[in-house]
């Protein structure tokens, strides 16, 4: 009875919010908190969004490490690291108590990643952005794939992002010159234009003493972003043909000694950031190039500007953070304005590109930057990869994601590693995969 009453109340406030909308679609955020909420609770897993808000949201003042102020509203940052699923566990518990929590303790904004976005997007906890007050006009410059990620099974958009993370193939210029005779992106592209030529190039690289990729998992996203169906169909796990292609390619490359079976982010993976690691290419978005490839360390390839970028065999994306408004928020206007300023305002977004080297989710802003040579990346030896990223972001297709993606992707890579290393046959490895899925999602157990 009590929960029914609560639900009725909730939907009432929601409807009221719909009418109130986002105010005049104003220019400045300061003093916009007209909904009466005194505290804005934001749930995140790292400092990234906080630093974007601090630097770019008009009217935000930092108070201390975990609090800030917008007008009269106190902003509370609740940051739980991603490690071992801790962020999601914490968020789940808080969301399940959202109805009972006091107004000032309710979550107002939470952040999600693409791999598990649907887990939240397909519930009533994530508010439709239209109900918050964003209009189609506001959202028209965003890349479509960033909206696909946050669209629930009924076609309702429930979150937005300020960034896009299309990826490219990042290659070692020295190896390209030595083996392919040129380090020009268009020449290299010919050698990796599709997976057959990719495999042929891998052979040549092996003969010259290079690993084609650092690990088998490097190419995984490129395949998993281009699947023809969802992981789970009619309550059954379905292995897509393109994922099977990844398995076959990886097995061939492992058997030929052209790559390794290390995990992403392991020391064996990052060894290729240095010349001695002898790795030809990585697959990654702008943030990988700028922040993760040891560009600050003398002696790394990135430090010497020794990487090049080209489109590679297929388009893909990696990473990204999406903002969701949470049902029960008492700061709807402010939530809406934060979304609007950071994910729809071209001026602010161009600022983010300049200041933080993010690839932002705004087509006109990115096209301007792509045409401007001052946006060239030093780690790429002065190449400006933004035109490639722009093209890639248009091509990303996320219509085939499901709420089970994170678990399925992780467990498949883990299980197949045994097949690649020769510790199990394909069937045994696949059986281990289904077993692990059954443990994670008992409703899918066979």
């Amino acid at each position: 009875m009590k929960s029914k009453l609560m639900a009725a109340l909730l939907s009432l406030t929601m409807a009221a919010g719909m009418l109130a909308g986002c105010g005049k679609g104003g220019s400045s955020g300061a003093g916009k908190a007209t909904d009466g909420g005194k505290v804005l609770n934001i749930y995140a897993w790292n400092e990234e969004f906080k630093s974007r808000v601090t630097d770019h949201y008009p009217g935000y003042e930092e108070v201390d490490a975990t609090t800030g102020k917008v007008g009269d509203v106190t902003v509370k940052w609740n940051i739980t690291p991603n490690q071992d699923n801790a962020y999601q566990n914490h968020l789940d518990e808080t969301l399940l108590n959202q109805d009972k929590a006091a107004a000032d303790d309710k979550i107002d904004i939470f952040l999600v990643e693409a791999d598990y976005a649907l887990k939240y997007v397909d519930t009533d906890y994530a508010l439709p952005v239209k109900d918050l007050g964003l209009t189609d006009e506001d959202l028209k410059n965003q890349y479509k794939y960033t909206q696909d990620v946050m669209t629930d099974s009924k076609g309702v958009l429930k979150g937005t992002s300020w960034q896009g993370c299309p990826g490219v193939l990042i290659y070692n210029r020295e190896a390209a010159t030595e083996v392919l005779g040129s380090d020009d992106p268009s020449e290299v592209q010919k050698a990796v234009a599709d997976w057959d030529s990719f495999e042929k190039t891998a052979e040549k690289m092996k003969d010259a003493g290079y690993n084609m990729t650092a690990t088998t998992n490097d190419a995984y996203r490129v395949f998993s972003n281009n699947v023809s169906g969802k992981w789970v169909q009619d309550g059954k796990v379905v292995l897509d043909d393109n994922i099977k292609n990844w398995i076959d390619l990886s097995k061939n490359m492992m058997d030929a000694g052209e790559t390794t079976s290390a995990d992403l982010w392991s020391p064996d993976w990052s060894a290729g950031f240095y010349p001695d690691g002898k790795v030809f290419c990585y697959f990654g978005p702008a943030w990988l190039i700028n922040f993760s490839m040891a560009a600050d360390e003398a002696g790394s390839i990135a430090n010497a500007g020794g990487w090049g970028a080209t489109e590679g065999p297929q388009g893909f994306f990696w990473g990204g953070t999406w903002i969701c408004g949470c049902a029960g928020t008492d700061n709807k206007t402010l939530v809406c304005d934060i979304m609007k300023q950071l994910t729809c305002n071209e001026e602010i977004m161009l600022d983010i590109v300049k200041k933080d080297s993010d690839f932002v989710n705004n087509k006109p802003a990115m096209e301007k930057a792509a045409a401007d040579d001052s946006f060239a990346f030093p780690v790429l030896g002065g190449q400006n990869p933004l035109p490639m990223f722009c093209a890639g972001a248009e091509k990303c297709d996320l219509s085939n994601q499901s709420a089970y993606d994170q678990g399925c992707n992780e467990e498949l890579q883990r299980a197949m590693r045994n097949y690649f290393e020769g510790n199990a046959s394909y069937d045994e490895a696949y059986e281990q995969f289904t077993k692990a899925i059954g443990e994670k999602y008992p409703e899918l157990a066979q």
Binding site: N85, D92, L95, L96, K119, Y120, D122, T123, Y125, T260, S261, A262, D263, S266, P267, D268, A271, A403, R414, R417, N418, E421, N423, A424, E428, A429, Q432, K435, A436, E439, K440, Y441, P442, E443
Partner: protein
């Protein structure tokens, strides 16, 4: 009414028992009973959706036994425990015998006793993180072996069944042999020195003294050490969890029972997790009963 002249101290006994009883009830007995209760239900979370609790009788038990999980992971756990316990008990016995032998008069005894106990003070997770880095494909151990010319190319320690199991056993052995040594030493020091002297006078060799006097008299302590180590071994978790990044690879050959239990934490699967825990409770209870019997049968 005539007041008793004898002062009753009994109530103090009960009062002093309260803290233990309360802690035991709240933190042990109640969780144990709820675990058993939970094991009869289907009860987990799918995403943000709660499924159950629905009463399913013994279905959870049937599931974990028939799908081969429980026997497999129990076997893994036992194999690793044996690989760890045999070297550990041998080293501890030898060290214990040396330290307690008055005729050897080892110098710096306190120093050595401290040193062998030290590995136990390091956090298991830090310890296995260290080993993970040391034995990585491009790690220092591989570089040393390659530079010494022992192997031509890096040996993938984490990709072979017996090297992973061996590393886990080795780490556990290293962490616990100091503790075992100290327990055994206490046992050895409790043996009447007159027995050793008598044996020496009769012309027994050191080996004979060890096998005919020390070992038989040490039997209760040895059994105690073995059973507690077995209970500890059943709960083996942190070292393999960190070393294999929770996967128990290759092909789950180093996945232990508690690592498997931890898998059910992902979706708060109290049913299957509960069934597994009940199995652990039963095994541990049997082992504890053995200790109880052995330590109480003084003959």
């Amino acid at each position: 009414m005539k007041k008793s002249k004898v002062v009753s101290y009994n109530k103090w006994g009960y009062i002093f028992l309260i803290p233990f009883t309360v802690v035991f009830l709240v933190f042990q007995l109640i969780p144990m009973v709820t675990t058993i209760y939970n094991s009869f239900f289907e009860n987990y979370r799918s995403g943000l959706m709660q499924i159950g609790p629905n009463f399913v009788g013994l279905e959870n038990y049937v599931t974990i036994i028939t799908n081969g999980d429980l026997p497999t992971y129990f076997a893994n756990t036992m194999i690793i425990w044996v690989m760890c316990f045999i070297p550990q008990i041998v080293i501890s016995l030898v060290l214990g015998a040396w330290f307690t032998d008055p005729s050897l008069r080892l110098r710096f005894q306190t120093f050595f006793k401290t040193v062998i106990y030290l590995p136990n003070l390091i956090m298991a997770s830090a310890f296995s993180m260290l080993f993970f880095t040391l034995f990585a494909d491009g790690g220092p151990i591989n570089s040393i072996l390659m530079q010494a010319g022992i192997i031509g190319e890096p040996y993938q320690f984490m990709s072979h069944v017996w090297s992973v199991r061996g590393l886990i056993a080795f780490m556990n052995c290293l962490m616990w042999f100091g503790n075992t040594t100290i327990l055994l030493m206490a046992g050895m020091l409790g043996i009447d020195p007159a027995l050793f002297e008598a044996a020496q006078v009769d012309g027994a060799t050191a080996t004979q003294i060890f096998s005919k006097i020390t070992l038989p008299l040490l039997k209760p302590i040895l059994i105690y050490v073995m059973v507690t180590s077995l209970i500890g071994g059943l709960q083996l978790f942190d070292v393999p969890q960190i070393l294999t990044n929770g996967s128990g690879d290759p092909v789950r050959s180093s996945m232990t029972l508690i690592m498997y239990l931890n898998k059910h934490l992902y979706n708060k699967n109290y049913g299957l997790g509960g069934a597994l825990s009940v199995f652990m409770i039963i095994v541990t209870a049997i082992l504890s009963y053995i200790v109880f019997k052995v330590t109480n049968s003084r003959r």
